[in-house]
């Protein structure tokens, strides 16, 4: 049997804590053909070019996915134009500009309040878990409020979301079982959200799901199945990505104590810090849903029609051909043009919210945790190589500082 390729080693769980040396090796061949015909792209310029290439579709059927006829409709993340554009525009009407420009910025006081309560909740303890105590509950509470999903149901959709994320793992290990779990989870999640959508159609509130089902804009409202599919996307994305951004952020700060100290005194630092995190320790490492619709020449390589494409975003953001000194964590980097949220028409829908959440959470944690120390470094990681982040991040602290204000 052939030795595993660099990409296969990246997928292997044993490299989850530090995949970056493997990314460097991967980048030696920025567009690389795997044994099974998949093309793994790891150079910054090559990734940007494919993100903006109309000959690349995101509709690649995932292994084990049901056939078209029996399938629930996909979310806009898995659709090409023009369907993608329409659904994303409808969703955007209730989330951001041009229709609702103040929506996200207006949440800031509430975001502060949620973080404050979560940190207050660990006062008196000397050991905390950044994941379970702050980084997970914070964005979940926020996305539930935005969507209008009852926070009390969290335990149920936590399991569904986990099942969906695990199925994203492109490795073969335990795949049939994971896919079965995923299928069940998707059916249940869609049924759950479909129920909420039907209820909001009768009694609309000021939440996003109510907006989607009652929209009277030029593109019309979403159908109940569209609401379920796209609501599920936002719910899962709101669950499984920001948690990594905040946790990776705290881990990186604890590995750079001088920055943790600066963050206590320089509120503006959080802005550049979060951008640098998105480049250096991003929540989303790989995207593997794309497929070439025709032969695509990139550099001197041709990706043939029909070939699956994996974009190694986290490798691209550390491409030394693009970023000077890419393995150095530098929150003062300007400009900082990274692939943390992807690019092109599928650029992360929730990016502005994720940025604010991470800026606020990291600043408050830096200010309020007294003498935080890592219990284990590296921490244990969750299984997914795509949405990569620690399962737990245990810290010892000497208590919590009460805010002066």
């Amino acid at each position: 049997m052939a030795p595993p390729s660099v990409f296969q080693r990246i997928l292997d769980y044993s490299h989850r804590a530090d995949p970056y040396p493997l990314y460097a090796e991967l980048r030696k061949t920025p567009v690389r053909r795997e044994e099974d015909g998949t093309y793994v792209v790891s150079g910054y310029e090559e990734i940007v070019s494919l993100l903006h290439d109309p000959r690349v579709s995101v509709g690649r059927p995932q292994p084990g996915e049901p056939r078209d006829a029996e399938k629930e409709p996909p979310s806009f993340l898995r659709l090409d134009p023009p369907e993608h554009d329409r659904l994303r525009r409808v969703a955007m009407r209730h989330f951001g500009p041009p229709h609702s420009p103040h929506q996200v910025d207006g949440l800031r006081p509430e975001l502060f309040g949620i973080v404050k309560d979560l940190i207050d909740g660990v006062a008196g303890r000397t050991r905390i878990d950044i994941v379970d105590d702050v980084a997970y509950p914070f964005p979940v509470t926020v996305i539930c409020r935005i969507l209008g999903v009852p926070r009390e149901d969290e335990a149920r959709f936590h399991d569904w979301a986990d099942a969906v994320i695990e199925s994203l793992d492109p490795s073969e290990e335990g795949r049939p079982e994971r896919l079965r779990r995923r299928e069940n989870a998707v059916v249940e999640l869609h049924r759950y959200l479909g129920g909420i959508a039907a209820e909001r159609r009768r009694n609309p509130g000021d939440d996003l799901i109510s907006g989607l089902v009652t929209d009277e804009g030029p593109d019309g409202a979403m159908s109940p199945t569209e609401v379920a599919a796209n609501g599920a996307l936002l719910l899962i994305a709101g669950h499984e990505t920001t948690v990594n951004l905040i946790t990776n952020g705290m881990l990186t700060l604890l590995r750079h104590p001088e920055l943790l100290d600066r963050l206590r005194h320089e509120p503006d630092l959080a802005i550049g810090l979060v951008e640098e995190l998105l480049r250096y320790e991003p929540p989303v490492h790989l995207r593997s849903t794309r497929i070439a619709l025709e032969d695509i020449m990139i550099g001197d390589i041709t990706i043939p029609e029909g070939a699956p494409i994996v974009l190694a975003l986290a490798a691209g953001s550390r491409d030394p051909k693009r970023v000077p000194d890419p393995d150095r964590f530098d929150p003062d980097r300007r400009p900082n043009q990274h692939l943390g949220f992807g690019g092109g028409i599928h650029y992360c829908f929730g990016a502005p919210l994720a940025r604010l959440e991470a800026q606020i959470a990291l600043t408050e944690l830096a200010r309020r945790l007294r003498n935080p120390r890592l219990v284990t470094d590296p921490p244990p990681y969750r299984p997914s190589p795509e949405l990569r982040g620690p399962r737990h991040l245990l810290l010892d602290i000497d208590g919590v500082i009460q805010p002066a204000r």
């Binding site: 070019s49 109309p54 023009p82 500009p97 910025d105 092109g344």
Partner: protein
């Protein structure tokens, strides 16, 4: 705090409008408007917005060090005459975008000699694109458009006295107030001005405007705020169309009169022009094509009241905006011996000016709207571009080359890119659409006015234009650079039908005739060109 967005780079992600909604706003899906001098209370919001921009197009406070595309190059200073770099004298004539940009780059590249910037207007350098958009709409005061802290570049800024003459042999610029400014190397960046209404008496009627300068924008804004009965826009190029768009935004009735078959035809051809015509009419513009204005008529008090059109009709209006394009500011160079005329000042791809014999000069450089340069991608045709992005890019090349020797000069090879915001739609273009015989819609829907049009010339891609589809433009820019075959393959994710090219309907070029070149002498050492001015 000063903010400037490089809309050449902007792809309409809208992240800034999320994070600083009081400063940045989307008008429609992709058209960004912003306040270039945001209230200091917005500081944190603006910093968040600038950091979040996916293409890093937002410059805060200090423009000169912001365009980092050239940073690696700056790290190794250009190799030129070292003494010149330390103690030489550089004069820049023109204190707008190109001149200001060049001044910043000269200092960044280590020029420590004396630097003088001569500006004809009584203001610090300012940014013109907002004038016909957010300033005219009353969203932003005109004085918010000053370019970020250009004046802090270490230079002598002479404003208010335009240059009136150039002596290339004695290396001297003469100013309107009689002063003479000596130089070792000169950059000509005098730009262009609005073409005035040809009938001088009619042009002086109260209510007749051109739109190019801050003063003109301020006066026109006052007029629009007074809610005129109707505005007449003469000429449906980009400026005229943007003014019409602002009128509709303010709910002011507007008539647009265009000599050609549709708006924007001169830049984008008849096929896309027809889409622009639909866009205008859908927003309530009274658009009259293939018609000209024969006379502007005033009342006894000298106020503009109506216009007589070539189709025999009359338009009653209180304001007339003359948007007939630009005239390059070259009059001050008339006796300089440079190849300067209505076409601009001719130069090589390295921005060095040609003299009237077509010989390249060593110490005189040209950049911005006034420059006419050969572009290798377009068959080495000479072109003059009135684009924001070209002024910036060409000024950077010129500044670099002013400090470099022959071996280290850079060619100005960037593809032209421009944008326009009108009627809630963001229009962007890359390449040279007029250098085309065919055009094809390759992406999106013309009916929804969200599409990508690709232009081809003899089987090669030469340009692309997007309406609210800016994120795809980069791909087509790459096709142009690769001289990819036209029409491009039809497998874009959203195409179900084949791409069908149609004639691009480019207007015939009207050749400038005001200057004629005459050659005299027989011996090669004696043969010389000279310019004869006036129609012959």
């Amino acid at each position: 705090m000063r903010v400037i967005v490089d809309l050449t780079r902007c792809q309409g992600y809208g992240q800034c409008a999320f994070l600083a909604p009081e400063v940045f706003a989307m008008r429609g899906e992709e058209a960004l408007v912003y306040d270039p001098d945001a209230d200091d209370a917005q500081r944190e919001h603006v910093l968040r917005a600038a950091a979040a921009c996916p293409v890093q197009a937002i410059h805060v406070e200090w423009m000169a060090i912001q365009r980092k595309g050239m940073r690696t190059a700056a790290a190794r200073p250009p190799l030129g005459d070292d003494a010149f770099r330390k103690t030489g004298r550089i004069v820049i004539v023109g204190a707008s975008l190109a001149g200001g940009r060049a001044a910043g780059v000269l200092r960044r590249e280590g020029f420590t000699g004396t630097l003088t910037v001569i500006g004809g207007e009584p203001y610090e350098p300012y940014d013109r694109p907002p004038l016909s958009k957010q300033v005219l709409a009353g969203r932003v005061p005109a004085d918010h458009t000053l370019l970020p802290h250009l004046s802090e570049i270490e230079a002598e800024w002479l404003s208010g006295a335009p240059a009136t003459g150039l002596d290339v042999v004695a290396k001297r610029v003469t100013l309107a107030d009689g002063r003479e400014v000596p130089f070792d190397r000169l950059l000509i960046a005098t730009g262009a001005r609005a073409r005035p209404w040809p009938n001088e008496a009619e042009a002086t009627l109260d209510g007749v405007f051109a739109l190019r300068t801050m003063d003109e924008a301020i006066r026109l804004r006052e007029c629009l705020a007074a809610r005129p009965r109707r505005v007449l826009v003469i000429g449906a190029g980009f400026t005229g169309s943007e003014v019409a768009s602002v009128c509709r935004e303010l709910d002011v009735p507007v008539t647009v009169v265009e000599r050609g078959p549709a708006p924007l035809v001169g830049a984008l051809g008849g096929v896309i022009g027809a889409v622009a015509a639909d866009l205008q009419r859908a927003h309530g513009v009274d658009l009259r094509c293939e018609v000209t204005v024969e006379a502007l008529e005033g009342d006894a008090d000298g106020r503009f009241r109506s216009a007589r059109l070539s189709d025999g009709t009359t338009v009653e209006a209180d304001v007339a905006i003359v948007a007939l394009g630009a005239i390059r500011n070259v009059e001050w160079l008339e006796d300089s011996g440079l190849a300067a005329g209505v076409w601009g000042v001719a130069c090589d791809a390295g921005c060095r000016a040609f003299d009237i014999n077509g010989l390249v000069t060593d110490d005189v450089f040209v950049a911005g709207d006034v420059a006419r340069f050969p572009h290798p991608v377009y068959g080495y045709q000479f072109m003059a571009l009135e684009h924001w992005g070209n002024a910036v890019a060409q000024a950077e090349i010129a500044a670099h080359n002013m400090l470099s020797d022959q071996m280290h000069r850079w060619p100005h090879l960037s593809l032209p890119i421009f944008w326009s915001n009108q009627f809630g739609t963001n229009i962007k273009s890359v390449g040279v659409p007029t250098f085309a015989d065919e055009v094809a819609i390759v992406h999106g829907s013309v009916a929804e006015r969200r599409f990508v049009a690709v232009y081809g010339n003899r089987g090669r891609v030469t340009a692309a234009v997007t309406f609210d589809q800016a994120m795809w433009l980069e791909h087509y820019q790459h096709l142009i650079e690769q001289a990819a075959p036209f029409p491009p393959a039809s497998h874009a994710a959203d195409r179900r039908e084949p791409v069908i090219p149609v004639p691009a309907e480019m207007p015939d070029r009207i050749e400038a005739t005001q200057v004629t070149v005459v050659v005299t002498g027989h011996d090669p050492a004696e043969r010389r060109a000279s310019l004869v001015r006036g129609d012959r």
